[in-house]
Subunit: 205 residues, 2 copies
DNA sequence: ATCCGTTCTTGACTTAAGTCAAGTAGCCTG
DNA sequence: CAGGCTACTTGACTTAAGTCAAGAACGGAT
């Protein structure tokens, strides 16, 4: 199925230029390093609802999201899905532990929109890590920050009510409601869809 | 997720030998790399309740815990502490994002027991990353796994009751109850101390 | 369009966990 | 070996969020 893509990217950047800008926000990238990064990341398009990884598989690649949304989710004993992470434009997705160590992933990853990504497989990843120190640092940066964000969200779940967290989301990330179904936002917030619906009704009154 | 306890260090290993064993569990370490790792990590002892980091400070070092327990915690708007992570023997602690990027930490880290650690500061860390590829991979491994563990715990909070999570902890990590005060375990589980107390009463009946 | 399967909403009711308050038991430290 | 500080427990009560069930609204496929 052909996926309509909305080029150009912001500022007319190509996907690889957007990735390089993302890297340059975090570390210095030399001209030679740029060439290697461009050569290693492959552009790929994913359909809405397409899975790039299912629990138990070995993660085939990490992906820089040029434009789109992906969710990580686990499935509990009763078959209920728990969304643990949402990744939008300019974020990375993939189970790095599974990719690096060749072990089964503990979660699944699915696109929620038609998504344009730049993918890097284990061979490319190992090669780039050995050749391009700057890239190593980008991955450190991204992973360390994601880890801290996850801990912050976990702490917020205990210290704030669902309504307070909803209001915060509405203030800081309103676009999420245009791009992600409410039942998935509810799961990601750690509440039931009915509860989210009632909170929204309450607010708009 | 079982917590290893080594009293004393396994096979009478010195702290640095224990660290090297930890690295070798994950990646190959050459003789030259071993020398550099030994030279970079400094042994330090911390008192019970001592902080190695307070929110807002720049994290001064990362630490490999030879023996002891540390907790990461945030403080919410009402001054209530939320424990987000517990790290025992043979784990790493420290806010890597703060350490690597020189930015303010978003949480505090405190020892819950007298703790023996091997510390590595930013200079040592940058040097080791440039010199010792094996060490880079150890840090990737540790951080990626910690990230996945955090996501799994977050998902469990939604899909299981506090009592189910308590029973799981009791099964897989009973030693935690010998080493960490109940009010901190409660906070880490995302429940109130009173609730934990009632769950425990119920179980032992 | 119109059908079908989601997603979302709403209502009535239940319940797990939180809150407040009081008391007990440990434990350092002087 | 008291005194005071915390940790922990217990009881009574409240409440936020979950559950179950039914209908409405939306969106993709035909």
């Amino acid at each position: 199925m052909a996926i309509p893509i909305h080029y150009p990217s912001p500022g007319g950047a190509t996907p690889h230029e957007q990735l390089l800008n993302c890297c340059r926000d975090k570390v210095a990238v030399s001209a030679e390093e740029e060439v290697m990064i461009r050569a290693t990341f492959k552009e790929r398009h994913f359909a809405r609802n397409e899975h790039i990884l299912r629990v138990g598989e070995i993660c085939p690649f990490s992906v820089y999201i040029v434009r789109g949304v992906m969710r990580d989710y686990t499935t509990d004993a009763d078959g209920v899905e728990q969304t643990t992470r949402l990744a939008f434009d300019d974020y990375f997705s993939g189970d790095m532990h599974s990719l690096s160590n060749g072990v089964a992933s503990v979660y699944s990853i699915q696109c929620l929109e038609e998504t344009v990504g730049l993918t890097i497989d284990k061979a490319g990843y190992d090669w780039l890590f050995a050749q391009v120190p700057a890239f190593t640092n980008v991955f450190h940066y991204v992973r360390n920050r994601s880890f801290n964000v996850a801990l912050q969200l976990m702490a917020e779940r205990s210290s704030k009510s669902a309504e307070q967290r909803y209001l915060g989301l509405l203030r800081e990330n309103p676009q999420i409601f245009q791009r992600v179904p409410l039942k998935i936002i509810a799961s990601w917030m750690g509440i039931q869809p009915e509860t989210l619906s009632r909170i929204r009704k309450n607010i708009t009154l």
